[in-house]
Amino acid sequence: MNYRLLYFASLSDAAGRAEERVASEAGDVRALYAELAARHGFTFTPERLRVAVNGAFTDWNHRLADNDEVVFLPPVSGG
């Protein structure tokens, strides 16, 4: 399946890009993160991140569909 990834803050720096399209066999967000963490050298464990699919927060077992937009969110630091 194909997914659209958006990256922010230190994940964007590590990936060297703000977004990308990936073709992957990963069927849920946890598997997709493991794949991308290995590829880009992300050091965050899933416990430190939140995840959003198609613009809404969700959980790590969320099943993905073709063309989903997936975002792994580093700990926030607004204000």
Partner: protein
């Protein structure tokens, strides 16, 4: 009202938006860029947001404040982009019949925004380095 803004925050205009005949108290909070953090001299900040989700989560927080406190008006705006020392990074304002609810609701909004809204701060240090910040205050390389 909650918004992410690329332009400087017009605090006076926002304050006028809190006016209501029943508002005996108005509390506004301004978060500003300061020149140090964790012992390092800071020249400026850059904020990045996942705008779609940040605005949705910010609106949720504002609605929660309405439900929890006896208030008239509530709004909050957070900047993104490059900010200089003294610039307003975030503004939260509440009007209410009485001061206790106004203080409590304003505190609630700013605390929840800092904890939940997907916005990230990058500090630019006087020595030329920069780094993304996390809630524990430790910079992440990049």
């Amino acid at each position: 009202m909650f918004a992410i803004s690329e332009a400087p925050i017009d605090t006076l205009r926002l304050q006028h938006g809190l006016e209501a005949d029943g508002a005996g108290a108005v509390v506004c909070f301004e978060g500003r860029v300061r020149n140090y953090n964790a012992g390092r001299a800071v020249n400026g900040l850059s904020y990045q947001a996942y705008i779609e989700l940040a605005e949705a989560e910010g609106r949720r927080i504002v609605e929660e404040a309405r439900g929890r406190f006896e208030i008239e008006r509530v709004s909050c705006v957070h900047r993104v982009g490059d900010l200089a020392l003294g610039d307003v990074a975030v503004w939260a304002g509440v009007s209410a019949g009485h001061r206790a609810a106004a203080f409590d609701a304003c505190r609630y909004v700013i605390d929840e925004v800092k904890a939940r809204v997907p916005i990230w701060k990058r500090e630019h240090y006087a020595d030329g380095e920069s780094g993304w910040l996390h809630p524990d205050g430790t910079p992440v390389s990049g």
